[in-house]
Symmetry: D2
Subunit: 369 residues, 4 copies
Amino acid sequence: MVGVGLIGSGFMGKCHALAWTSVRAVFGDVPDIRLVHLGDANAALAETRARELGFERFSGDWRAVVADPEVDIVSVTAPNGFHAEMAIAALEAGKHVWCEKPMAPDFAAAERMAAAAAASGRVAVLGYNYIQSPAIRHIGVLLEESVIGDVNHLRVEMDEDFMADPDAPFFWKHEASSGYGALDDFAVHPLSLIEALFGKVSRVMCDMSRPYADRRTADGARRAVETHDVASTLIRLENGVAGTLLVSRSAWGRKGRLQIQLFGSRGSIVFDQERFNELRLYTTSDRPTEQGYRTILTAPHHEPYGRFVPAPGHGLGFNDLKTIECHELLRKIEGKPARLIDFDAGLEIERTVHAMARSFDEGRWVDVR
Amino acid sequence: MVGVGLIGSGFMGKCHALAWTSVRAVFGDVPDIRLVHLGDANAALAETRARELGFERFSGDWRAVVADPEVDIVSVTAPNGFHAEMAIAALEAGKHVWCEKPMAPDFAAAERMAAAAAASGRVAVLGYNYIQSPAIRHIGVLLEESVIGDVNHLRVEMDEDFMADPDAPFFWKHEASSGYGALDDFAVHPLSLIEALFGKVSRVMCDMSRPYADRRTADGARRAVETHDVASTLIRLENGVAGTLLVSRSAWGRKGRLQIQLFGSRGSIVFDQERFNELRLYTTSDRPTEQGYRTILTAPHHEPYGRFVPAPGHGLGFNDLKTIECHELLRKIEGKPARLIDFDAGLEIERTVHAMARSFDEGRWVDVR
Amino acid sequence: MVGVGLIGSGFMGKCHALAWTSVRAVFGDVPDIRLVHLGDANAALAETRARELGFERFSGDWRAVVADPEVDIVSVTAPNGFHAEMAIAALEAGKHVWCEKPMAPDFAAAERMAAAAAASGRVAVLGYNYIQSPAIRHIGVLLEESVIGDVNHLRVEMDEDFMADPDAPFFWKHEASSGYGALDDFAVHPLSLIEALFGKVSRVMCDMSRPYADRRTADGARRAVETHDVASTLIRLENGVAGTLLVSRSAWGRKGRLQIQLFGSRGSIVFDQERFNELRLYTTSDRPTEQGYRTILTAPHHEPYGRFVPAPGHGLGFNDLKTIECHELLRKIEGKPARLIDFDAGLEIERTVHAMARSFDEGRWVDVR
Amino acid sequence: MVGVGLIGSGFMGKCHALAWTSVRAVFGDVPDIRLVHLGDANAALAETRARELGFERFSGDWRAVVADPEVDIVSVTAPNGFHAEMAIAALEAGKHVWCEKPMAPDFAAAERMAAAAAASGRVAVLGYNYIQSPAIRHIGVLLEESVIGDVNHLRVEMDEDFMADPDAPFFWKHEASSGYGALDDFAVHPLSLIEALFGKVSRVMCDMSRPYADRRTADGARRAVETHDVASTLIRLENGVAGTLLVSRSAWGRKGRLQIQLFGSRGSIVFDQERFNELRLYTTSDRPTEQGYRTILTAPHHEPYGRFVPAPGHGLGFNDLKTIECHELLRKIEGKPARLIDFDAGLEIERTVHAMARSFDEGRWVDVR
């Protein structure tokens, strides 16, 4: 029996709750899950959400969740600025921690989180759920088996359009205090995939831009935008591979795009999160007259698709990725091999983001380490 | 508080269980759900599955589920041949029934089911989950708003390849006693969409074929295949629209294809279940130089996508459709409007399938009613 | 040196002229081509078009073209109703004939054309250019090599939207005297592909419909439409394969769609003329975890792509298909093997179209022969 | 009457010849074209090719073409290293020059070409045919009309795989003397599109890489590759727009990819040369529930598609782009407005390429001018 605490119940909070609710029925091989304690910004909200999401107790103070003796694992889904304090408190209280990405706007805080995790002996992992999809996992299999030979170049793009409207008003994400902009919001996701599939980034050269210099404020004035919605980065990996990582949160028409292009000596792979139940593979082992990208639909033989649906091509959903992540977390707690970005790996991702920002500021290549 | 009984725990049984598990957290506006009693072919299997899926009790006899006084709703997911007996027993015991499609191989049995539902005063619905997807629902909205004008022609195809391998052995689905073949397996799904979007089919003209005349048996002999993996039907709807309905379970490469093409006087709509988070729309209201099919990604403004994910383009999964269906069922039980295929509507679908088969046998157009 | 006469200089007339102009430079292995004589509806038009298209002489009377002793081959691109008279006259004058499809609205006239061709000893072929594309030719290669095993089912759709506007006025194509409607306009194209790839159609069961019952006339009244814009046909081939052939000229959004789906015992092929530089192939010889449709871009190893461009994926255009057809015609005249629909094969296509119409009229299956 | 000389008769030489052959019949509004003189590496080859391509005279010495008094325009399609000498000689002989891209491996030579063009008073243009496609031209119209608002970001990729095979032997394109690699081969094409659609590039930051460090030579040894098959560049345009330009000639699976993504304040445009008869457009002027990328098929209302085919969606081919370019050239010679990259604009493209290479060498941002 595992007791779960949840801090925050917005987009990702609900996503965690759904994962905790489903993981047993989907995978079968996990302990009973008890939804013990939900904490949110105030007691009234927490009560409503606890009832809807099925938690036994609620609290308007997140510290009560962390202190609850029946809570074994704490899901941290509050705004990024609170992650460090909450995660560290939970670890110090002897809880396992499942914290949404990124770790913290401030690198020193992220370092403290990693140190707390190391000191605690508990499992501390981050919510980089895109690495969990059957298609991405199968890319890992294909790379291990060298199906496209040695990878020599990669391109990754991540784009959405929630900042694309020039008439939308100024809000906190436009303030410098919120971070860099698209780098914090998006670059971390592609970096988690690069980390999972290839290893670390060694050098970066970044350019950033602001599609809209200023935005209207509530009082009818205009205020200069301080963050950057677009960031384009030349990268070099420690294994010698060169590539690019391009992100934008002002790309009209893109809703959840995360396109990966991997080029190897005997083929290539293309993937796009907007169609994450598909994978495109080109290999030179096909007869020349019939070479072409195969569009492979995910199926039970792409782990762990079959735990959800026994028929191919029926499709998983976004929330299912979080359920897979939850299962990996439970495996890790049980000491089994698991595919996750823990706080140490997460710290390397954030180190890379800060190096990108520094590269932009200084207009030059920057070594990540 | 609603008590749930589940009969059968295979592909669709697990799918029902996941829906029952998630529906409260996803939608919020439903009563507490209690997973009371799971019945399966024998007690050992039922026990294992009850534990995995989170049911309180189990039984190797489905009648125990139906008789359980704490069960309010019975999910019937046993093989098709058992549907009638189980559903009728549950209705007679005063339970609401959520039965997987199709109703029954034998039309008289389906008629008895509909009669039992009418007599019971309980809610009795079928698991036609494809009508629940946000894209399909949005097609309904577009048709109501006449965005593509008056529909004058439709084409529907449903194809998979689980029967496509000529070297796979003879099994019960190749026996005439199992039904017609692709008509039972697949044609009912497109018919549920036609029923939900347009109304009834009035006339049919069907051709069927067998890709493989015989198959090997366990003893190394060959046995003639008695069912048809492919069925192609010319149809006329009661509203005067002409169309075609083509199905195959031996279509190599198709995994969960269900393509709909709707042609109207001011535009057209194309949908494919293999990419069910997308919808393609062509309208003549666009400027001529920019007319083209728009690929619309599902988003929170396509009901009820937003209950799952607040961000557009992130995608629902196959199991989410069953959760939506479950929510509709709970709404119907509460007397609210709901989008479902009940036993009466289901009977009309099966009537159409039998008319198709008769049309093929007699080589002529057949009136459905 | 080959002398060319052209009758008609509209859409297909210009297309023939471009083919005659380019064929030598593209293929290299053909005789010199001399554009001798262009005939059109009147002398003024013929003069203008002869100058633009590069013909030496012109005439307002097509008989002058046929009679011209320096003309060896006559391209007949006048309206369908004139084909028989022109082609027969040209054959009787000892010319080879390259006539646009279809042969004639009236089957007896088509029969006379075939008889005249047989009697003349000249080459007489039809402009079914879709069979010439490198992708379609490569489908032929794949079928010969049995790459998808034995084909057991096919589906063909041909759709455009030039009749889709309900506000467009009544014109001659809506009169019964123009033929059946979509059957004449479109069904012949898919039939040419079936003929080229598989052989003859043996039985048909056709349904037709009118999206718009009447249309406005010049005087502001409304007149009943007599032809059918939509035709859907169940077909059986002489080789036993079952399939469907669906055509519409009122399908909003479709511009030049001609989709073919071929299902075999070891794979499937999908092709769409709107992207005719691509071919989609699924085979079970790929490893199961990587099976999927390959999108194959046409390339020099798909004959005769390389005669146009030596680099893969650069794409041929619609007019290039006519140039290939022209080359095949020249090969046939030289006695070499050629891939063409001659008048005999064309007659079989028209026989099938008339059988479809009769099937619709009588509401029953009709044997083509 | 215009007399044409052609130097070189390989891939692009044949492409020029086909354009010269067809341009009159396609467009109608141009003078008579006479194919006067073809020059190639030796007289035998020139004779064969002149016969095939329809030229009156031939020569094994290109200077004879330039000197021919009946030649008005010289098509220069010899290897890049010869462009400067040939083009300058032709201009000095009073001919108009149509030279394949790029101008010259050496920037000083390109400058001499531009100077010679200026001094000659003749028309001197480059073969950047991708800017001629109806889809690209229509992008220009959409940008002029501000259909996607103000463009704030662009991404361009150009990829092929003709260098992707690691087992292919070392040849002259791997020697430093041939230029930089992918920058020369490919980057110039996207730059021509940027030049045509937006204007000049002001700053660049480039990274290059070698997928394969060495290759086998004829004698069985291995030789270090000196050029770079991959180049990735951060760019800034003079109009302030930021973007990226990524090119590779070792990208397995890509055959003629040239993808453009343009992001504006009210929409976005996506184009890929591998499907150059299509254009994808997203605009916020659509109703939110139906916003999505429209796939627009080229049609007669996209200039000058209708000169080739009067029906939409039938598709132009790669060679047709050169015919359009040829028509623009003839218009320019007649003093009409024309869409072309002349030697001055071409020089700016090459200046940008050299700045990219310098940026890579020095590991820093470089101002193009």
